[in-house]
């Protein structure tokens, strides 16, 4: 590992790669971090967390009306029952899309996102373009992102300004009546649970 500036000869010494690597080396030398724990944490975020956790809740709601009712009424209790734990889900609310109502989630002040249900947020969700515009012109933003809503559909934007986190329950697409939980879970995308895409059969 790096032992000072010489190591970086020939590479841009202030590129994000070099700067991050040098910072990590410094922190290891100072005994502030443990490299193996950094690796383990990355592993967990990248492989154990992801939108499939939220997708399963959505698919199960489509199949089981009783489960859906419980999830809408008290998502925190359902997450506890399902043993879903982790970061950024201290209090979760489900917002249901239905004919005439479309929900979309943002965090205008930073990038709050239900990590334990959807994994890490994509860059576009964290971009200033999305954060600034989706509260002012959601219909236009959604259209640009490929989602044309009926002009009569009411749009409900949820700005994640407290520690409550929102998950959109998208509409079940037609033609999926024969599918089981596993197959339905596969259809549900991350972006449909943020509210910028619909689920396609």
């Amino acid at each position: 590992m790096s032992q000072g500036a010489d190591h970086h000869h020939g590479r841009n010494a202030n590129s994000p790669e070099i700067r991050t690597e040098a910072l990590e080396d410094l922190l290891v030398e100072k005994g502030l971090i443990d490299r193996a724990r950094v690796d383990a944490l990355i592993e967990r975020f990248e492989h154990d967390l992801g939108p499939m956790i939220g997708a399963r809740l959505v698919a199960k709601s489509w199949l089981e009306p009783e489960f859906r009712e419980k999830l809408l009424d008290d998502a925190d209790q359902v997450l506890k029952d399902e043993q879903i734990q982790g970061a950024e889900i201290e209090h979760v609310e489900i917002k249901v899309n239905e004919p005439g109502i479309h929900n979309v989630v943002v965090c205008t002040l930073c990038s709050c996102y239900p990590w334990a249900l959807l994994g890490l947020p994509p860059s576009w969700y964290k971009s200033p373009e999305y954060r600034s515009r989706v509260v002012r012109e959601p219909r236009k933003v959604l259209e640009e992102m490929g989602m044309s809503l009926d002009p009569d559909t009411e749009i409900r934007v949820w700005d994640s300004s407290s520690e409550t986190r929102f998950l959109v329950l998208p509409e079940r697409p037609a033609g999926t009546e024969e599918l089981d939980l596993e197959a339905l879970t596969q259809l549900v995308t991350r972006d449909s649970m943020i509210g910028v895409a619909e689920v396609k059969a």
């Binding site: 500036a5 970086h8 010494a13 202030n14 994000p16 790669e17 700067r19 991050t20 690597e21 040098a22 910072l23 990590e24 410094l26 922190l27 100072k30 502030l32 971090i33 724990r37 950094v38 690796d39 990355i42 975020f45 990248e46 209090h91 609310e93 205008t108 002040l109 930073c110 990038s111 994994g119 860059s123 576009w124 964290k126 971009s127 200033p128 373009e129 999305y130 600034s132 515009r133 509260v135 002012r136 012109e137 959601p138 219909r139 640009e144 992102m145 490929g146 009411e154 749009i155 409900r156 934007v157 949820w158 700005d159 994640s160 300004s161 407290s162 520690e163 409550t164 995308t189 972006d191």
Partner: protein, 237 residues
């Protein structure tokens, strides 16, 4: 119309282009982004431990570091450099010297200091049972001061400290549509003034009220506001 005075408080601001949308985007684009994530979670316990403190660190970054070319993880790394310097773990000059780049490259040279927030401007603290695990939620025995259906307005203030009141709703009347579980007040915890827990109101704003007559039709913007942010709009019907 709102005048944005904080680098991060960009809801409703104009002049931005298309959302850089890629439906198949991976969560990391480069390996260094992974490292930043992993490092941050080990650095926070040595630095910004209080709710809101890390967010406020990012809010204090210079605009060029907040909107830096290295994206979101670049912003996190800049925030880490600031915290490590402020908490005395890694001087802001140390990383620059090690890299052989001009001193002053670190974001720590450009970030604003933590503002001195006068505790008297905050709502009084209230005693709640100590939670069994780390959480921002608190069991408040006092009931919420507002009810669903109340018309409320958040006047805001021009204090330089941390707040979760977005500029774009300041002075605009909305309707309480839901009451969330009580939480510690980040405006207080970020500045080490105690929990001061508050009920949290979900307030619905009509797009026309926020953006004027040319706003898109049939749009409602819901914002979660700590109870102490708002007052009853007596004149509202």
């Amino acid at each position: 119309m709102s005048t944005n005075h904080r680098v991060h408080d960009i809801g409703g601001t104009e002049g931005w282009g298309a959302v850089p949308y890629d439906p198949n985007e991976a969560v990391f684009h480069n390996d260094w982004e992974r490292r930043v994530l992993g490092l941050l979670f080990q650095i926070l316990p040595h630095t910004a431990k209080r709710p809101g403190e890390f967010r406020h660190t990012l809010e204090r970054l210079a605009s060029e570091d907040y909107f830096c070319a290295d994206g979101y993880y670049g912003r996190w790394r800049a925030g880490m450099e600031v915290l490590l310097h402020e908490y005395g773990h890694v001087d802001r000059a140390e990383l620059d010297n090690r890299l052989g780049v001009p001193q002053g490259t670190s974001a720590g040279y450009r970030s604003a200091n933590v503002a001195a927030v006068n505790a008297e401007t905050l709502p009084p603290d209230r005693i709640t049972p100590t939670p069994e695990h780390r959480t921002v939620r608190r069991d408040l025995k006092e009931p919420p001061q507002f009810q669903i259906g109340d018309r409320v307005v958040a006047p805001g203030n021009d204090e330089a400290g941390h707040t979760r009141l977005p500029e774009y709703v300041r002075g605009v009347t909305g309707t309480v549509v839901k009451i969330h579980p009580a939480e510690v007040l980040p405006d207080s915890t970020a500045h080490n003034h105690g929990d001061r827990p508050q009920h949290v109101l979900c307030v619905a704003y009509q797009a026309n009220d926020l953006w004027g007559e040319d706003a898109e039709q049939d749009v409602v913007i819901n914002v979660d506001l700590y109870e102490s942010y708002v007052e009853l709009d007596e004149g509202a019907s």
